[in-house]
């Protein structure tokens, strides 16, 4: 699969939030303000890309060679957990404001399905290293795009007259549903 195809597929056609349902918890939690949405998106992109590279090498170099494929889930998640700790330290040093804004959502990147999902999908789709890297970048850009788009809408919704029962998460989910319909339109692209 060519790089361009991978990028278009992951950002638009099979967008990780609107089509694949990965990363919903942070999507709902962080997408209400555009600033935090962008910050989270960037952090996730970094973690996903790095972890995809690490897990690729571990799968090819260790798990496959030793016939230990059944340890994939547990090894991958441990690598991701370690990476997130590392990213947390880096962000804390480089931008304390972002660190405070992201709050509890930063360690939660560990449980962000996108990170583990992309790592597993890289192996399942049989990508080589370059395709893996671009799949990682594309998926996280798609995730960030979803977050930013949703935060734009949600910031406006804060000021609208939403029925009491639907306020908060229900309306956010319905919003996501409508955006998902829009993204379905990309289906014939590749």
């Amino acid at each position: 699969m060519s790089i361009a195809t991978i990028l278009i597929a992951t950002i638009f056609v099979n967008n990780y939030v609107f089509a694949r349902f990965l990363g919903i918890c942070p999507f709902l939690g962080v997408s209400n303000k555009m600033e935090t949405a962008t910050g989270m998106g960037v952090a996730v992109t970094f973690v996903v890309t790095l972890s995809s590279i690490f897990t690729y090498f571990i799968q090819k170099g260790i798990l496959d060679k030793l016939g230990l494929e059944y340890l994939q889930t547990i090894v991958f998640i441990l690598v991701i957990a370690a990476l997130v700790q590392f990213v947390e330290l880096v962000i804390k040093k480089m931008s304390p404001t972002l660190y405070n804004a992201l709050g509890v959502y930063l360690p939660l990147i560990t449980t962000n399905c996108v990170v583990l999902g992309v790592a597993i999908l890289n192996i399942q789709e049989g990508y080589n290293l370059i395709q893996t890297i671009f799949n990682a970048i594309g998926s996280s850009v798609g995730f960030t795009l979803a977050l930013i788009l949703a935060s734009g809408v949600r910031e406006k919704l804060e000021l609208a007259d939403v029925p009491e029962a639907l306020k908060g998460f229900p309306i956010a989910l319905i919003t996501a549903g409508l955006m998902s319909i829009a993204f379905l339109g990309f289906n014939g692209l590749i």
């Binding site: 059944y70 547990i74 399942q124």
Partner: protein
Amino acid sequence: MRETLKLGIILFIFTVVSAGVLAMSNNATKGKIAELEMAGSLGALQEIFGEDAKFQPLDEGKQNEIIEANPSVVEIFVALDGDSASGYAIKNVSKGFGGDLVLMTGFNLDGTVSGMRVLEHSETPGLGARSEEPEFTNRFIGKSVSEEITVEALSGATSTTNGVLAGVNAAREIFNSQLSN
């Protein structure tokens, strides 16, 4: 420093115990899993060629040669009528919408498709998952191998249909180039 060491050792013990438990589960289940795969293949072969047909795997040397050149091929079977070959079946892997598709395509010696079965898939129920149903798989029967095989798509499941077609045509090419003599 001592504390870090102690923490590290405790984590290490956790990991070792976990790895041990997983190795045991793996041993307990892998026999059954292999059995299921074999039964799945056999079932599909009998559906495609008829209950009385007999099969054997293609000669190992030839099979390995084909698999090396076409890594998506899993296994090739020869359908037997008495002692001579009456057809071939190719089991290969293709990309679906929700994951890998494992297909078994049967070819008659006269150059037509005898049948196709979807052995494994992760497609959406009600949409791509309907590729398992006879309504879809029957569309492949009788197709000629002399040109690219196309069938009417499953409504709402174009990606799944395309994945199946890619797999079937890959099998067709292997049949044409390697087996139809």
